[in-house]
Symmetry: C2
Subunit: 168 residues, 2 copies
DNA sequence: TCCGGCGATGTAATAAGATAACGCCATGAC
DNA sequence: GTCATGGCGTTATCTTATTACATCGCCGGA
């Protein structure tokens, strides 16, 4: 299961896909998931999730904060956003990209996966993948070291197809 | 080549290995490497490298800064440390652990490798590995996506052998 | 030798990211 | 109604990282 919902690998909004659909879909899945788990996807958290999904690029907490403040028409405190993000990450609706200090919507919430990303250094898009080979390799080597894995992080920086074509 | 120089996997200073040797060795290799490349391993940079190697735990830039200030007997600016770290990272003498905002000495400088780590959430030790299967898996999936890799990041959080034994 | 260039370092200020401490209020169980 | 819980607001503070500008020292060319 490669979790990329976009047929054109590495693509994003500039490819003119129906991103409104991406957002609506993400929100719907979140509603369903939280209902199923008895988790409270409050208005605020839902709002933050929607803002995270504003693009397929990882977004910083303070960028989200700005959006939120603007949308609410009043200044919001950083903590508000961080708390919402914490909830969303805990429930697997959002991933944190460690190497960017940024957050991105999960492409396959609910499914068991470990969060692996191809992050383009040029356009900023990040594609979530979930390659069983990588997972397996990490599991194997961890076992060899007697290491008990709790959270694997794979973030591959580089250049996506589109950006390679633009700068050959 | 699993780059762990310590026979007891995941070990560190508390195992009583000769850490002075680790440091001396790291500095020697750094000298050699920089000489070979015509890079200037200045006194300051060498000092910072030594401080990074103070343990096998990743260390924050400001922790290193404190050590440096103390050793120099005068306050040092953050930028001083960040510049030195930038140099060391560029030359592969030090790795940055993204998920910790911290820095750790490279176990195999000079050799081509991608920096993969097993990071214990309990004791803070980080063991550098360089598993060809992980590298290969990342290479394969990147190719499948037409993605050109520049810097793969693999940071596996979890619990090391020692810490598992202590808390069964 | 003197000069100009360049890379390394010093200094100060500030940006960006994240958390701590405290309290109020809505919800729901009893 | 009462109480406990969890979510949210407010304020202050902390950690991490960078920007802007000045200075120093080394080295090659005039
Ligand atoms: Zn989309
Ligand atoms: Zn995901
Ligand atoms: Zn290394
Ligand atoms: Zn440990």
């Amino acid at each position: 299961m490669t979790a990329d919902p976009h047929p054109t690998a590495g693509s994003a909004s500039h490819h003119g896909h129906d991103h409104a659909h991406c957002i609506a879909d993400a929100l719907m899945r979140a509603d369903a998931l939280c209902a199923e788990r008895g988790a409270r996807l409050t208005a605020l958290r839902r709002q933050v999730l929607e803002l995270v999904w504003n693009s397929h690029k990882p977004r910083g907490a303070y960028a989200i904060l700005e959006d939120l403040s603007q949308r609410e028409g009043k200044a919001t405190a950083p903590l508000t956003v961080y708390r919402a993000l914490e909830f969303l990450v805990e429930h697997g609706l959002v991933h944190r990209i460690e190497s960017l200090n940024a957050y991105i919507g999960c492409a396959a919430p609910g499914a068991v996966h470990s969060g692996q990303f191809l992050v383009c250094e040029t356009c900023g898009n990040a594609v979530e993948i979930d390659d069983p080979r990588i997972r397996a390799a990490i599991g194997t080597i961890a076992a060899e070291h007697g290491f008990q894995v709790s959270r694997p992080t794979v973030e591959v920086r580089g250049t996506c197809t589109d950006c390679q074509e633009k700068t050959p």
